[in-house]
């Protein structure tokens, strides 16, 4: 019963936040503090709820006795609790950040923004806890509408309203598939409560699998269903971008986990193979497209596509292992996926907050116009660096820990698939994940260096100021989480194995054994990987100590300042390496995929002696060109064709009705 009170308190906090934001919309300062403060409290209560479930076991209570669709209940098992915790942690940080960030929106519909933000957070929390088909769809749609309105918040801008429109269309295609997936489950179970849902037999089960993959995949942003994501995430206010990119797309992972772990049961191997294929495509292409971006928020959005791919590599591995009857390894793979869910939520929202802090002071999202900010914003720079190292999957931060688990899961694929298939799949997927990591590292070298290092490239950048303490505190909190989860992942992995164990029949904790408090290892025939992030940190510290000791004991400490040697010219910011130049080799190496179209514009005269030359590269987005553009063109053409039927002549319309009536009569009498 305690959980009921926690849940009610959480929901009331968000409801109060909405009400106060709307009621006090004429007094933005008060509304800002009150609404976002209450949102932060609500998020913390969600976190408390998650902790409660993990300590006291699964919880649940009935919301209503009987509706048209049967009784609606809230159920929080470990899976729900895990996502509750993820949303709570990021939501709390983002809400505190929002208090400072939203000051920019005073007089720009702050009231509605804050109310929608609270509704958005609450709807996500309901999505992961409600245990009824119709209630889930309603909560899901509320989440969609709230986020749509937040994306469209700056609707004066053409780009924002277009992004919101694309998001609205795509996400509803997704919702249609999700509804289809649920509707396939309802007839065999005869109930709409999650606990009763059963998989249909035969090909309908495969259809349910595919509908769930497409439906939730649209929200998650897997390629080629990702088109809305790089438009919508940057268009929203930054704290909303952080929540959308860090957490909202994870509700889709929750949906998939519910379907693939609970409702559908163990499937054929091709389910796993299909998920792995989509995952590999998303991770590699997502990071490649990210590398080509210069708009920092768009770039981060593309990295979400990449990280969803990495998460789904773990999920796909889990499906393959489950169908091969290896619950232990399936648990390992699912645990890797869920661990990356949490890690990505943390470092992606951290990076968005850092980008927002930069955006707020410099008013530009184009990294080609930034530079040197490490001097003016030392804390933001340090926290952003932590996020950059984490998202690149480098030790000792959390990104490495979950990618390492994913590596181990993929490496064990030959145990599930005998012969050459398994070996080749393992080899190709492991090396693709390695490629993804290397590309992400290249991308974040570019991002961090262009924003924070060298000399400012514009007056805006030179006038930058450090963000306020209310923005720095949540960033610091998230950066600290990156370090803690990276160095000591063992306790969290214990929770994760408990989360997935009930679905897989066997306790995967036996496989994912923490040898010591500081090490992570497995006890399974197929794989014997062991990793110790803590020992790694000790080694790194020892190495650094050796370097420092060498400095002290040997040689002179002399340090002279002098400008960089540039052939006798005093260097200035225009001589610095640009983001375009930095990513050029990779753009060329992957030109078969990216299809870059360079374009040089010279002003005043000759091609080589113009007064000013501008170099642009346009990337071709293959999926937009191949799928979406033809589809939209076809729809418009069809509409034009259909328009011919609509002449405006009433006689003709009556004729249509006559014709249809006669046809129906003829058909119904069957001659």
């Amino acid at each position: 019963m305690d959980f009921f009170y926690l849940y009610t308190a959480m929901a009331s906090a968000f409801a109060l936040a909405m009400a106060s934001a709307l009621a006090l919309r004429t007094r933005p300062a008060v509304a800002n503090w009150l609404a976002h403060g209450l949102s932060a409290i609500g998020s913390l209560l969600a976190l408390a709820g998650a902790a409660f479930v993990f300590s006291a076991g699964p919880q649940g209570f009935s919301l209503s006795g009987g509706t048209l669709f049967g009784p609606v209940a809230v159920r929080a098992d470990y899976l729900s609790a895990f996502f509750l915790g993820v949303i709570g942690a990021v939501g709390a940080a983002a809400s505190v950040y929002a208090v400072a960030y939203s000051r920019e929106y005073y007089g720009r519909r702050l009231g509605s923004m804050a109310a929608l933000y609270a509704a958005f957070l609450l709807s996500m929390l309901v999505v992961v806890t409600v245990s009824h088909v119709v209630a889930f769809i309603v909560a899901w749609e509320l989440m969609t509408v709230a986020s749509f309105l937040l994306v469209a918040h700056e609707r004066e801008k053409a780009s924002s309203s277009r992004a919101a429109y694309v998001y609205f269309v795509m996400t509803h295609i997704g919702t249609a598939f999700i509804m289809a997936a649920f509707l396939l489950l309802v007839p065999p179970s005869g109930s709409m409560a999650f606990a009763d849902l059963k998989a249909p037999a035969g090909w309908l089960r495969d259809a349910a699998f595919l509908c769930a993959l497409i439906g939730f995949g649209t929200k998650a942003g897997i390629i080629p269903l990702h088109v809305w994501l790089p438009e919508a995430h940057p268009a929203a206010p930054t704290h909303v971008s952080a929540v959308m990119s860090g957490v909202m797309i994870k509700t889709a992972i929750y949906g998939m986990a519910r379907f693939y772990l609970e409702f559908l049961g163990t499937g054929p191997v091709w389910w796993g193979a299909a998920v792995l294929a989509a995952a590999a495509l998303s991770s590699v292409l997502g990071v490649l497209y990210a590398l080509m971006q210069h708009d920092v928020k768009r770039l981060l959005a593309y990295h979400s596509v990449e990280n969803i791919g990495i998460i789904m590599l773990g999920m796909g591995g889990g499906l393959v292992f489950a169908s091969a009857g290896l619950p232990g390894l399936a648990g390992l793979a699912w645990a890797a996926a869920l661990f990356h869910v949490l890690n990505h939520a943390i470092f992606k929202s951290l990076l968005f907050m850092g980008a927002g802090a930069v955006l707020q002071t410099t008013h530009t999202r184009d990294i080609e116009h930034l530079g040197g900010l490490i001097r003016f914003m030392p804390y933001t720079a340090a926290f952003f660096l932590a996020g950059a190292v984490a998202i690149s999957g480098l030790p000792p931060l959390n990104g490495f820990a979950s990618e390492w688990l994913t590596f181990q899961a993929l490496f064990a694929l030959p145990a599930a698939l005998a012969g050459l298939t398994g070996k080749l799949m393992a080899a190709v997927l492991v090396s693709l994940l390695g490629l993804t990591g290397a590309l992400a590292a290249a991308c974040f070298v570019k991002v961090f260096a262009m924003i924070f290092l060298a000399k400012p490239r514009s007056e805006h950048a030179a006038a930058a100021k450090e963000a306020s303490g209310l923005m720095l505190a949540p960033m610091g909190f998230l950066a600290a989480l990156c370090l803690v989860l990276g160095v000591l992942p063992a306790p969290l992995l214990g929770l994760l194995t408990r989360t997935v164990a009930p679905f897989l029949g066997e306790a995967p904790a036996a496989t994912l054994a923490a040898g010591d408090w500081y090490a992570v290892g497995f006890k399974a025939a197929a794989t014997t990987g062991t990793m110790s992030p803590a020992a790694l940190v000790a080694l790194l510290l020892a190495g650094a100590a050796v370097a420092a000791a060498g400095y002290r004991l040997y040689g002179r400490a002399g340090r002279t300042e002098g400008e960089t040697w540039t052939c006798g010219i005093v260097p200035n910011a225009r001589m610095e390496y640009t983001a375009t130049g930095f990513s050029d080799p990779i753009r060329r190496a992957f030109r078969a995929i990216l299809l870059p179209k360079p374009d040089v514009v010279t002003e005043d005269g000759h091609r080589y002696f113009g007064r000013r030359m501008v170099f642009h590269v346009k990337i071709t987005y293959v999926f937009t060109e191949l799928i979406y553009r033809p589809a939209s063109r076809g729809t418009v053409a069809l509409a034009h064709f259909m328009k011919r039927l609509q002449t405006g002549s009433v006689q003709l319309y009556v004729g249509y009705i006559m014709a249809v009536t006669i046809a129906v009569l003829v058909w119904s009498t069957r001659w």
Binding site: L424, A427, E576
Partner: protein, 304 residues
């Protein structure tokens, strides 16, 4: 704790011997090119000199520029602690934690920070070096994983000790030759050797690694050079342990150490020979070169 101490001891050993191997390669290369060349101990003298000198630092740089050499060095030392040098001698000697992905990602960590530092001073030379280094890393990372998976998959473990044990007991067959070829190509790229990079110069348009560290001088430069030598020795050791026919674990430790030393020296000489026999290739032909490595590694997997 025992494991940590053993790892540190191994790191110290590798760090102490790394300049010697670098000197061996330099001398051998000079002889192959009919030059007298420096003595084999020259890298030690160079290090001593670099570490005793003042450094000149651009006022544009931030704390990152100052920290990066230490991170790079620490990552190289950490990798040296994890690498399977002593594994054949005593499998319990701290190598239980050594994992393939940890080793490779430590190198990636060092590279990340050095590439950041290359862009910190704001000169285009450094940026060019950093951009190219990350580019080559992007190409080499999948290739190196594929090549090492050819060893790890039969061993059914990514633990470096288990891989070394499996490789030491493996029969020398066609698939081993393919795998060795695949890793040797990656070795050339990762140690910055001639078809991919030129370790001896930075004042030409082919510069990669040396361009990246152009801004450094004095003690930080010495530290970076040392770390590069350590990384080189670790990579050579990986090649010698995993891909060259060797002594089974049952042999006495001293004999194994001698065999390993011979294998490392032979690999170093092979690197010098490869560098003498080839030309620097255009940067944009490197992808094809790395593809050759990847295909060889896949063939090794199929042939097994």
């Amino acid at each position: 704790m025992m494991q940590l101490v053993a790892g540190l001891a191994q790191a110290a050993l590798v760090a102490a011997l790394a300049p010697l191997v670098a000197g061996l390669i330099k001398t051998a290369k000079a002889r192959l090119q009919s030059r007298r060349g420096p003595g084999i101990l020259q890298p030690y003298y160079d290090l001593a000199k670099f570490l005793g000198k003042d450094s000149v630092v651009s006022p544009t740089t931030s704390w990152l520029f100052a920290v990066a050499p230490s991170v790079y060095f620490a990552a190289a030392l950490g990798a040296a602690a994890l690498s399977p040098v002593l594994a054949p001698l005593a499998s319990g000697l701290g190598m239980g934690l050594a994992d393939l992905f940890m080793l490779l990602y430590l190198f990636a960590l060092g590279r990340f920070f050095l590439a950041l530092a290359s862009l910190d001073a704001g000169s285009s030379f450094g940026g060019m070096g950093g951009s190219r280094e990350m580019f080559i890393a992007v190409l080499a990372e999948p290739a190196i994983l594929l090549a090492l998976l050819a060893v790890a998959l039969p061993a059914k473990s990514t633990g470096l000790t288990a891989m070394a044990a499996s490789a030491a007991g493996a029969k020398w067959a066609l698939s081993e030759v393919f795998a060795a070829g695949a890793f040797f190509i990656v070795l050339l790229a990762e140690t910055g050797r001639i078809p991919v990079d030129n370790p001896d110069t930075h004042l030409e348009l082919t510069m990669v690694h040396e361009g990246m560290i152009l801004e450094y001088s004095g003690r930080p430069l010495g530290l970076i050079h040392w770390a590069v030598a350590i990384k080189q020795l670790v990579m050579i050791t990986l090649f010698a342990v995993f891909f060259l026919p060797g002594a089974p674990f049952s042999w006495p430790p001293l004999a194994q150490a001698a065999v390993l030393a011979v294998k490392v020296a032979a690999t170093a000489l092979a690197l010098a020979a490869a560098e003498t026999a080839t030309n620097k290739m255009r940067l944009f032909r490197v992808p094809a070169f790395m593809t050759v490595s990847g295909v060889l590694a896949l063939l090794a997997l199929v042939a097994r």
